[in-house]
């Protein structure tokens, strides 16, 4: 899965560069261990909410890479029929309640999903992924309180990659992520976010506790994005990170680390199968149809209400 997520992002980066993906993406490269580790601890019925940097979460929870890629390309075969794009990719059939363009927004939505499951008498845990930037978003802080107060089965996963766009977490987050969660009475742990197995086992413990009625959990995964905040960053001269810092973190790349644990030969085998899968995904996605402009406002209302057009005749 690590390889699939990495390979998918590389494929997508290529399609951004070639202009086939409009608007660019927020690449997940470097952070794969978090999505993959956490989702490995989830059961099919569990749900997640994701972020602007969501491809990793969406894939790790099981979405079809071909349909995700078609979504990034705005095709009818996309997860969202081409209506959402990178920042809103979702697959409700798999409990993927969507990437979200607003930082911090997914947190409380996941809390709502957790509440909903409890109200329906269902055994489902909800996971909210979010970045260090979201730690300063009011709605997210509010949602920690509600989750704690109501002992809801939700796991907050903070992917601390050190920066919110150009702003270092060190100059943005007073105290610590785990300290904040703990202040709301939520058991919180810091994890090496470059180590898939460490993430998985911490997540598994939290999910198990939550499912058993033990209330919410919080993981701070220390990680790093190897690419710019957004593909557009390549066009800018920004100096918020030193090349040395990037290199130091690249040395912790979760992929070789995970590969080293595999029996000899298996890594290459996996690589080949991922390559094949992604090749097929690319083919599917590029062959998928563009939606027709007359259907621009389809799905605007769930009851089928057709809005008035913006002009007459």
């Amino acid at each position: 899965m690590l390889r699939l997520v990495r390979g998918f992002e590389e494929l997508a980066l290529g399609l951004v560069r070639s202009g086939e993906i409009t608007g660019g993406i927020h690449p997940y490269i470097g952070q794969e261990a978090v999505a993959v580790g956490v989702c490995a601890a989830l059961r099919p019925q569990d749900r997640i909410t994701s972020t602007h940097r969501g491809h990793g979460h969406v894939l790790a929870k099981g979405a079809d890479p071909a349909r995700l890629l078609a979504e990034l390309l705005g095709r009818t075969g996309g997860l969202n029929r081409g209506r959402g794009g990178s920042m809103h990719a979702a697959d409700f059939s798999l409990g993927i309640l969507g990437a979200n363009g607003m930082v911090g927004a997914g947190g409380a939505i996941a809390v709502g999903a957790a509440w909903s499951a409890r109200q329906a008498g269902e055994d489902r845990v909800a996971v909210a992924f979010f970045g260090d930037g979201a730690l300063n978003q009011g709605v997210l802080l509010e949602s920690l309180n509600l989750a704690a107060m109501w002992r809801l089965p939700v796991l907050f996963v903070c992917e601390n990659n050190g920066y919110a766009t150009t702003l270092p977490a060190a100059t943005a987050v007073a105290g610590s992520a785990t300290g904040r969660a703990a202040a709301f009475g939520i058991p919180a742990a810091e994890v090496d976010g470059m180590d898939t197995e460490a993430v998985r086992s911490a997540a598994a413990a939290a999910v198990e506790r939550a499912a058993a009625g033990g209330g919410p959990g919080f993981l701070e995964c220390r990680t790093y994005r190897f690419e710019g905040h957004h593909t557009m960053e390549r066009l800018m001269k920004l100096h918020y990170r030193t090349p040395e810092e990037v290199a130091d973190w690249r040395a912790l790349d979760p992929l070789p680390r995970a590969a080293a644990l595999l029996p000899p030969g298996l890594a290459a085998e996996l690589d080949a199968s991922v390559e094949q899968q992604l090749g097929a995904a690319r083919e599917f996605a590029l062959a998928s149809e563009h939606p027709s402009p007359e259907r621009a406002l389809e799905h605007l209302y769930a009851d089928g209400l057709r809005p008035r057009a913006g002009h007459r005749g």
Partner: protein
């Protein structure tokens, strides 16, 4: 049965909760039923469905969205209209957009209820807004019932609707009572109600102002024949019914207790001017541009539309029914 507006809301919630176990209610002090509509719900349906929330409007609204996305039908009661400002992102940028953005995978059957919208004597600047126009602009379904029967029926439909709906219960409508001899039932969203037929002028009145419009229409009956048109749902608006009414009257006045610029009054005038029959320039009576309600009661009232203004606007169309019964406008 004698039914008050607040009691009608309470009945609608009770019936919806009884009919569908997915319905649940979030809000501040709703356990105590402080605002009225939630009275006794906690006793009857328990804390698993009637959720008294901390003062975290953004988070509990988002939670309700999360719950709506996963099969619940939450209703949120907001204590004051300006709390809608606080959750504007949640309602307009999240709840409203999920269906389209997910390509139809998701629906957000969320109802927001604001009992006591608009001015309440002495509540001053931050508690007296009537922000329904904001939701009509964003495209969130927006309902402003004028009577107990409509309050019941529209709230039931709002809860049953698969999309987010905001229901404004104007403070000035809460004291309205009706003797109800019919079965209360859901009323479809998007259908207007003509409270009084007329042939000279159509008065589109929003919320509590329906009652003012009816009073003025009665009073001026010797002079002109006023049709009182209650849109009930501001978005989607019942344009077909308005066109039919203007086909009859050709004259339009809107009376609307919200800010003038870009309000629902503007929308009604604009659509009528573009597409419908008008034999005279239309008029609207609204709050002033950018209004903030001052505390002092006389100032507060001075900023709201009132009957004198409606009377003057109607008379400004000129004498349409002179004492002799002739009609110079025909």
């Amino acid at each position: 049965m004698r039914l008050s507006y607040t009691k009608a809301l309470n009945r609608a919630l009770t019936d919806a909760l009884a009919a569908d176990p997915a319905v649940c209610v979030f809000g501040e002090d709703i356990g105590a039923g402080m605002a009225g509509p939630t009275l006794n719900l906690l006793d009857r349906f328990g804390p698993g469905r009637i959720v008294d929330t901390p003062l975290s409007e953004q988070a509990f609204t988002s939670m309700a969205i999360g719950a709506a996305l996963t099969g619940r039908r939450p209703v949120i009661e907001f204590q004051i209209p300006s709390l809608l400002f606080l959750v504007f992102e949640q309602l307009v940028n999240q709840a409203h957009k999920f269906s389209l953005m997910t390509g139809g995978q998701a629906a957000v059957p969320l109802t927001c209820l604001v009992p006591g919208s608009g001015s309440r004597d002495g509540w001053a600047g931050q508690h007296s807004d009537h922000p329904y126009g904001l939701f009509a602009h964003a495209g969130v379904k927006t309902v402003v019932p004028a009577t107990p029967t409509d309050a019941y029926g529209l709230l039931r439909s709002a809860i049953a609707d698969p999309d987010p709906v905001v229901v404004f219960a104007p403070a000035a409508a809460l004291p309205v009572r009706e003797t109800v001899t019919w079965e209360l039932a859901p009323i479809p969203l998007g259908s207007a109600r003509i409270h009084r037929a007329g042939t000279d002028v159509t008065v589109v009145a929003v919320g509590h102002l329906v009652h003012d419009a009816l009073a003025v229409a009665e009073e001026l009956a010797p002079e002109l024949s006023v049709e009182v048109f209650d849109p009930r749902t501001l978005y989607p608006f019942d344009w077909a019914a308005l066109a039919a009414s203007l086909e009859r009257t050709g004259r339009l006045v809107v009376i609307d207790d919200s800010n003038r610029s870009c309000g629902i009054g503007a929308e009604v005038l604009a659509t009528a001017a573009e597409e419908m029959r008008l034999v005279a320039p239309p008029r609207r009576i609204t709050r002033p541009d950018g209004a903030v309600l001052p505390f002092a009661p006389a100032l507060d009232r001075a900023v709201q539309p009132h009957r004198d203004q409606l009377r003057a606007a109607l008379r400004a169309f000129g004498p349409l029914r002179p004492p002799h019964g002739e009609d110079p406008a025909r």
